[in-house]
């Protein structure tokens, strides 16, 4: 059985990234490096409170980290947190390809 699921970790990462605005924020941070909430708000096209709310969800999934400097909070991406998701895609892809191999064998054995 090639299938391995790590529901606890993967669940939060998948759910956090299910929202397109959060995906865009995460990708922006991955590309541009550390950003303030202000800078992210200019790019995201939604209000600052909305961006802050999205950042909280991303933080809970450990997809971003923050640090305070004066009045500004700076956020940066933690790309390693994507690992459960990448693993999931790889494992399930392998799972289905393996099942298709077995299906092929079965079909050859079955009468027409």
């Amino acid at each position: 059985m090639v299938l391995s699921v790590k529901p606890a970790n993967a669940h939060f990462v998948f759910r956090a990234l299910a929202d397109p605005t959060r995906r865009a924020i995460f990708e922006q941070l991955s590309r541009q490096g550390e950003q303030t909430v202000h800078a992210l708000t200019r790019h995201a096209g939604v209000s600052q409170p909305a961006v802050s709310k999205h950042l909280t969800v991303l933080k809970r999934a450990r997809l971003v980290q923050h640090r305070r400097e004066g009045r500004e909070t700076h956020y940066r991406a933690q790309p390693d947190a994507l690992t459960p998701m990448v693993d999931w895609l790889r494992d399930y892809g392998a799972f289905w390809r393996d099942r298709f191999d077995r299906l092929e064998t079965l079909l050859e054995r079955m009468k027409p």
Binding site: P7, F14, P20, T21, E27, S30, R31, L89, R102, L103
Partner: protein, 149 residues
């Protein structure tokens, strides 16, 4: 990561696996819907090709997984399309997916397309929703990861 794609369910994450089998659709359909045959290539199961039927796939338990997949039949369109829910883990941290198996005639046999999808956006009306799909997300990160190496 070429298997991640946008799918009919708007904005959801979808894994696609496709293959052409050199067999007619009738035969493939039997292998997809007759429980003893399904057990031979998928997992032990109490599947019935009846919409609304709840069933389980059961495999040997392993670390992080009790070996059980909770399912419910969604679509039965003989020799064309079969779809069921696919649930693993508990309510708080488990994952719910939809598996759709589509059969189409192909050169020398039948094409089987498996789409496993889930995690559609939880807010409607987000404008980027349509344009900022998972495919673009993974495309962007793939490029980024390539640059980091």
């Amino acid at each position: 990561m070429s298997t991640a794609a946008n799918n009919p369910v708007e904005g959801s994450l979808t894994l696609v696996v496709e293959r052409v089998f050199p067999h007619p659709p009738e035969k493939l359909w039997r292998a997809l819907t007759e429980s003893p045959l399904v057990a031979q290539w998928m997992m032990n199961n109490d599947f019935e090709a009846v919409p609304g039927h709840k069933f389980q796939f059961r495999a040997d338990p392993m670390p992080n997984w009790n070996g059980i997949v909770d399912c419910e039949v969604l679509v039965v369109d003989p020799q064309k399309r079969l779809s069921y829910n696919w649930g693993v883990g508990n309510a708080e941290s488990g994952m719910q997916w939809v598996v759709a198996l589509t059969l189409t005639p192909a050169d020398g046999g039948t094409r089987l397309r498996m789409e496993q999808s889930g995690f559609s956006p939880d807010q409607k009306g987000a404008h980027q929703g349509a344009s900022y799909g998972w495919k673009r997300f993974f495309g962007g990160l793939e490029k980024l990861m390539g640059e980091m190496e």
